[in-house]
Amino acid sequence: MKDDRIFKELLDKYMDGALRDPSVQRDKEEFIRDHFAPVPPSIANIASVSVPALALIALFFLVWQFFPTAQPIIKEEPAFERTTAALEQMAEESVVVQEKIEEKPEIEVDYPPVYVKRASSRTGNVMVYQKTMDQTPVTIIWVFPGGH
């Protein structure tokens, strides 16, 4: 019986030594990774999810790009016609302000041509006047620094 116990202890030590070899853990991790790791999403799976999402994003940007030019035709045009009298009154008031600006020393600046696609102001010293698109596709903007 005593020998049996010693044999068991020797066998335990022997097996522990065999299992302590770093290659055992390394082989185990590699084996699990190669055969039983979670399946990464395939390209097909990614495409099936991302393509519709990208299409939606592209559609959003497309609409966002065209919306400002389309907006006057679709929605804004009637509003301008209804408020013409008010806008003309504001334009007259602006003349006074413009005279004040002329008192400043002139600075010669070669301004590059400016193309305005869209302008808006909820509050502040900006006024926008636009003729109906079918008459003259021109938008005029007055900016009054310091004016009212």
Binding site: S23, F36, A37, V39
Partner: protein, 196 residues
Amino acid sequence: MQKKSDQELISRSKRGDKEAFGEIVNRYYEKVYGVCYGVVNEREAARDCAQDTFLKAYRMISKFEGRSKITTWLHRIGVNTSIDYLRRKHPQIPVDTIGLSEDEDAEVKSWRLEDFSPGPRDLAHISELKSLIEKALQELTPEHRAVLLLREWQGLSYEEIAESLGVEMGTVMSRIFYARKKLGEVLSPSLEKGKL
């Protein structure tokens, strides 16, 4: 995170969840590797047998009914895989001569482990203990080594070993008796000399 039960992992594995079976591998790799190593006594062969054991187990998981512990089932596959490996390596050997004749005939000798041929990495681990144990294990057939390991190293009961190996309990007992006797013959001289 709560540790999942073996039963839950088995159920998920049966539904094809590889990751769940990976957790089973993670839990029991060392045990299976140890049994395989004890039987074949070569690091690379033990690794191949252990990994083959898990691949077979995954393929057959739907047949596992859960009446025994998963470890019992894995031990059985591991021992059989290791013995098959040795048989392939020594095809001239008859399938079962472990009738445990204690006569050391040529056939039984050829079943035994080859001499230990350490590589550079193994040299660091060589000790008198290791060489003595290896010498003792060489005196046993693969079936005896398997029974001895399951009993002495894994601490399984005779019933569990019988279930693991698919043999009668009387066979298990006789193999253990024989294996201990052989170990005693090899190790006792060293014990008497106080080497161990």
